[in-house]
Amino acid sequence: MAFLSVHQVSKGYGPRWNRSEVLADINLEIEEGEFVAIIGYSGTGKTTLMSLLAGLIEPDTGEVRLAGQKMEGPGPDRGIVFQNYSLLPWLSVYENIALAVDQVFPDWTKEKRRAHIEKFIATVNLTSARNKLPSELSGGMRQRVSVARTLAINPKILLLDEPLSALDALTRANLQDEISRLWQEDKKTVVLITNDPDEAILLADRVIPLTPGPRATLLASIPVTLPRSENRKAALETIEGKRLRNEIIERLQAAKKNTGSAIVRKLVLPDIEPEDITKGRHSLLFSARRKPVRKSEIQPISVEVES
């Protein structure tokens, strides 16, 4: 039994007559201590998948099990780092983390909790900003607070929902290093969702492509064979690194071709039969002249457009 197992999960939105199936046949097995990256195009249901893993939404079919237990509802054993940080703007860095720590470890002494919070603020190098409000921090710093808040509640599994996609390239590179460092320190089970192949290869043990929706599903995973050395970034530029990146991109593109979604648009074409000029313009018999006719005001014609 894998540590986190997702079995035949599907999820759709909307009423039955106008339902859009976002995810279908999702199967996923993740071992303890593994770092898995799920990669896919934007808008293919990555965040829906993450919400399912976190328990924020219920799957329509199938089940999610964590350490053998069926998951029901969200809980602090699954720490989630949201794309948009989700910090409470009226609380300082310290207070944001304290809210989580006080809630999850209520039986600790005050001093222990305080030391715990300070430790995690230091882990993400934000000690100097501990009393600042989120609005006074840069995007990268906010995301670090969010990571610290999630790590501080010591979750069994860490869910990173495109944590770096809202950041500029330089900050992203720094935070990638930081996440890599944090992971190597305590080897937590991590699921990272991303749309950047480099980021996936850089951080994960294996990469799983998610096909474009609707009815998105997971493809076979690609193990990252690069050595997890101090500088995996350099390995990205080796032949093996390039091969991995190409493989991920090719698989995603192949999946996109297969789905080739058809968009049905209603085109309204003008429907006027022109005046019959052979009848002569100056005929006195008005009834004999054919005026421009409009057979019907609007006639919808469905045209299938391959995108």
């Binding site: 924020l56 969200p74 720490g79 009226w90 809210l99």
Partner: protein, 294 residues
């Protein structure tokens, strides 16, 4: 130097020009007193004062000032129950407004929260709220009198210190001033980003903790917009309420002076009501801005 020049022009000179235009317009509408000397049938010269103008009963700025001066220079004087300095009246009115306003907030805020949190409750209560919201204070007051007709609190000397009309006054202020708070709080609760609620769900915060740690702080900016608008309405209502009850206060004084025919002081009352309303609004905006900045 350049800064001082511009500062003077923009924020001092232009308002002064505006005020001057207003006074001129007032003067023109009020017209002037024309004194003519005519010989009567005995041959004596008599002076005859005739007011001419668009509205001959409206006092001119100068007369208004002369008649109101004593109320302004001795703002806290108490010459009688309905003859006091203008700020003494204002203080009485503010006292009543404060009580009614507090009642409005105490009822309105939770009501807004329920509306924002529960779709079922919104659907059930919305028609009633939409109908009651535009009702004028003048219409609520009689209902208040009926509702609280048996209210009579007496002090040691058997003197009523809180009767039906006081209760009705508070009722009217509260029910009229409540709606902006109710509506804004409801909108604020509905506008809480899903992310904040997700944080609460992931951490498994209890209902009480979610309310105090997430919902209320997230709604505060909206709530304060509601509080500010409510205070404005409460201050509007007070005048109507005091006119109906005849209780001492700025509105009661206004009505009494109208009945007494001293129109000059009506203008004084209007100006003071306006100034106080402005001060209240600015004070609330200041507090509101502090919560919005977060």
């Amino acid at each position: 130097m350049d800064f001082i020049k511009r500062f003077k022009l923009d924020s001092l000179l232009l308002p002064l020009i505006g005020i001057a235009c207003f006074l001129i317009l007032w003067q023109v509408i009020a017209g002037k007193t024309v004194t003519t000397r005519v010989a009567d049938e005995f041959g004596d010269m008599m002076t005859k004062n005739v007011r001419t103008g668009i509205s001959p009963d409206l006092p001119t700025p100068a007369t208004a000032w002369k008649a109101s001066k004593s109320y302004i220079v001795q703002p806290f004087a108490k010459r009688g129950e309905l003859d006091r300095g203008i700020l003494a009246f204002t203080a009485l009115s503010l006292g009543l407004v404060t009580q009614g306003y507090i009642i409005a907030l105490v009822i309105g805020t939770p009501l807004g929260f329920f509306l924002g949190l529960s779709k079922t409750f919104t659907k059930a209560a919305d028609p009633i709220i939409q109908v009651l919201r535009p009702v004028s204070p003048l219409a609520w007051f009689p209902l208040g009198l009926v509702l609280f007709s048996s209210v009579k609190l007496v002090d040691a000397q058997q003197k009523t210190w809180f009767g039906a009309s006081d209760a009705a006054a508070l009722f009217t202020i509260a029910i009229c001033a409540m709606w902006p708070t109710v509506m804004n709080t409801a909108v604020g609760v509905r506008a809480i980003p899903q992310d904040y609620l997700n944080v609460a769900r992931v951490l498994k915060l209890s209902r009480t903790k979610t309310l105090f740690k997430v919902l209320i702080p997230a709604t505060l900016p909206y709530m304060f917009t509601g509080f500010r608008l409510s205070l404005g309405i409460a201050w509007l209502v007070i005048v109507a309420v005091e006119m109906l009850t005849g209780r001492p206060g700025i509105g009661g004084f206004l009505w009494q002076e109208y009945n007494a025919g001293s129109y000059s002081r009506i203008i004084l009352c209007i100006l003071i009501i306006g100034v106080i309303g402005l001060v209240l609004d600015r004070a609330m905006s200041f507090i509101e801005a502090r919560f919005k900045s977060i």
